[in-house]
Amino acid sequence: MIDLIINIILLAFLAITAVAIIRSTNLFASIMLFGIFSLLSATLFVVMDALDVAFTEAAVGAGISTILMLTTLVLTKNHNEKRSHAHRPWLSLAVVIITGMVLVYGTLDIPGFGDPAAPANMHVAQYYINNALPETGVPNIVTAVLASYRGFDTLGEVAVIFTAGVAVLLLLGGKPSIPNSNSNPGINKKREEDET
């Protein structure tokens, strides 16, 4: 019971933080609030018994992604968001509300939160819980599934991470090019061609 109450309160906090993030026009404040958002979600993952996920979210969301966003903020030197009038809030609000209502209609058929007889908990999950220890000798089922049963999937994920690292290196690894100067004629030439 106490789990459920903590769950409800933390989810409400999460929703409030999300609204605060999009209402703030100061990007620094938004990024720090996003760090709080990640920390709250890590806490919630603990409440929902997903310890490994909570671990990762606390280190990644509250640590590394906040730092990367702050570094980007330093590099772009743009601390305040400019609210333009080109975007009509009513149109996007309407799109979002209609999509949300359709999704809420979809949830009416989902089995309730924490239902042990839900279809998601019946099939392959039971096999993992019953056989992970005798077959792999690893008490942490998440590790057993991650590295052994779904090893090929994880190999793909590692390859994706590696590719993202290579791509960031390609984009930011070289010397910065300064636009509108003669130090890098290639870009300026392309600009002129685009304008003509």
Partner: protein, 118 residues
């Protein structure tokens, strides 16, 4: 009331998802858009973990004397998704930095103006 409590998680998930979607559609600032995408992403994580949670279940680490465990499969999927997510966020932020270097701005409408598109 029981129905409300048992579906509360999913409704908050949808709310967060829509907040993220609204940010991506409506805000012109590219960093803000990436924050919106991240909120959307976290909401999907909650959808998966909520589905895998079992009432009175223990964390999926085999311990003597425990019969009921949470579903470990969503944990595995989301664990890798979080790390892949930060790698792709970094890629997006790298693109933002390059856009700033070439255009001098990260506001969407100013970029459109410079390109004479839209």
């Amino acid at each position: 009331m029981d129905f409300f409590i048992s579906h509360y998680n999913y409704w908050i998930v949808i709310f967060l998802m829509m907040v993220g979607l609204y940010t991506v559609i409506n805000r012109g600032n590219l960093i803000k858009k990436i924050i919106g995408l991240n909120i959307f992403q976290v909401s999907v994580f909650f959808l998966y973990i909520s589905m895998g949670a079992v009432k009175d279940g223990a964390a999926p680490i085999i311990t003597e004397g425990v019969k009921l465990y949470s579903n470990p499969l969503p944990h595995v999927l989301i664990l890798t998704a979080i790390v892949v997510g930060v790698a792709t966020t970094a890629l997006g932020l790298a693109l933002v930095v390059r856009i700033k270097e070439s255009y001098g701005t990260i506001e969407e409408d100013e970029i459109h103006e410079m390109d004479h598109s839209l």
